[in-house]
Symmetry: none
Subunit: 201 residues, 4 copies
């Protein structure tokens, strides 16, 4: 999604004047990502992004009102494509989707930089809406399928289950400052699955 400040009123809005340069936008986002992984969020300056992208500063400010918004867009643009799985077996799906998601996330060059956004509550909710929600919903679907199939208890708190799986891994990554490997991720999935299993299965 593009962070245009003025949204065109409709599909047939003519947008007078010279249109915005799509190449410039690409160059800015790429420069942002490159610099994020080089110097981190706090040391990132709009000035440097403009220089690296070969673009004037106003061209950046015309599109994004702040550094945080720019980084939000850049991270979003660069987010690893969401892994999906529907093998018919929910546990297999989970064992595939969660490790892949977390491994990708925590090995992304901008992942840690993204954390700095979490200092601002507003940014957290923006990140949540654009980045986390779709991934959460896919995971929730799998769990609901498992409940429908009788594999998991019917009274479980699906949201909490997701928080346990994702939270444990993200927290571990954050605190230990080391990437999360697929094996660890799978063990977490199994532990949570075990604690939610329907009795007698």
């Amino acid at each position: 999604m593009t962070a245009t400040t003025t949204v065109p009123p409709g599909p047939a809005a003519p947008r007078r004047g010279r249109p915005r340069d799509a190449q410039a936008e690409q160059a800015i986002l790429q420069a942002t990502v490159a610099l994020l992984s080089e110097v981190g969020f706090n040391q990132l300056s709009i000035e440097a992004v403009a220089a690296r992208a070969g673009v004037g500063k106003p061209t950046i400010y015309r599109r994004w009102p702040s550094k945080a918004e720019l980084v939000l867009d850049a991270v979003d643009r660069l987010a690893p494509p969401f892994p999906t799985a529907d093998t018919g077996d929910p546990l297999t799906d989970l064992r595939q989707i969660i490790p892949e998601l977390l491994v990708r996330l925590t090995s992304s060059p901008v992942a840690r930089a993204t954390i700095a956004l979490a200092g601002d509550p507003e940014m957290v909710s923006r990140l949540g809406e654009r980045y986390l929600r779709p991934r959460r919903e896919a995971t929730a679907d799998i769990l609901h399928r498992a409940i429908a199939a009788g594999e998991l208890r019917a009274d479980i708190d699906v949201e909490m289950a997701i928080d346990m799986m994702v939270g444990a891994l993200v927290y571990r990554w954050l605190v230990t400052a080391q990437p999360v490997d697929a094996d660890t991720a799978r063990r977490v999935v199994d532990m949570v699955w075990e604690s939610l299993r329907a009795p007698g299965r």
Copy 2:
């Protein structure tokens, strides 16, 4: 612990010249905490801290080498006192210690500001050493007692169990931007406990 750059050579060292003003140090830390909760880590400036504390900038730089170190100290100084529990029953202990810890943590005015420190891997490890480790170890002790008592399986990964409990709650707090209440924390504890219980108990 105070981050003095020049450590006194011994307990009986007279330290020539005018001694450092302990009041100034207090004022600086208090001003830091106040500003952290007002404007957040990213917007916090040494300049503003000095002004609010009624202190010169060099007085701050003499004691702390960077904004991050200053914040680290301020957060540490303000950290809620660590809750302990040893009722004899490990589950009761966990049900007491974890909710109290998390509720305090996530309602602290500087909690969110602390997150911003996580953007810098160096700061993460510093935070971990000074703040998280003692709390982790107390929790690990409880789990080890439970294993020794035969209440939990002997082959469990204690570190991972802690990450699941704490991570789930921290992640939920971060992502939903809402405080964590004692009831939610207790449910997480119970879920994890259940998944680790020794068979037949």
Copy 3:
């Protein structure tokens, strides 16, 4: 004269395409004059002129290559109509023409703005050619008539005499930042006339 960059090749050149909008030109010049008297030459921006005139910036740049040229044209367009006099008596003519000229000049809203153009030698010569020369020549004519009539000495430096009259008044206006009144102007004329009078008259 309008400072068109591309001069039409002749009076009967049809110039294909849409002709330039005369209304736009008027609006631009008027906006220029208005802004000149409001903010002065140095603070005048093409951007503001375009906005005030309800015109795009290229429409201005298409006609005038620089701010100085635009202001030159605007000043020229607004110059007070040149007073003339030929009563038969040169002193009477001078007493009429010089005060009127100077009073008009120094009370014009753009007069002071014009001074700023004098910072650029190129602009000075342009201003001289277009604005000052015709007025100078009319004044010189009067002095020459006076010489021919034997009222002034034959060996006087006419150019210098003009500089004394006009220069004294312009300088006074510039330095005292007050308008020049007709009475003062007439006294200057009389002083200079006196110092140039033919002996025995």
Copy 4:
């Protein structure tokens, strides 16, 4: 005179904190003068002055609130030392002082740049107070001595006489964009002197 914004309250005011660097001030004024003669007032940027002087921009803004004030000070600092004369004969004094003053003024590398200041009435009065007034008064003294000696009429307007001499020459320099030579200046002095001479001398 130095354009310190905050004037020390008295001669014995200690002024706590690090004092302003006199070398920096010199470097700034010299850089200003150099750039003025290179690019003129309108093209002069504070940025370039700071770079040339090897100084941070705030160091300039701490001392001078605007480009105009800085230039005013630089011009003042560079003003040619005021020529004086008191030979006993007022006409000789005038013939000496006026040409020297005007020749110096109009040949200074920053003279034309100074003209741009005249676009702002405020600057004109500042310039007048600091630069023109003392020179005017010296000239007025000579004329008053001549009146007292009976060489000039008692009823003359001294201010106007000065405006005629100085104004004619400045105007000529401005309009013809050529330097004023000593001979021309002397002829102007003589013309004005002649028109003011007491009858019978």
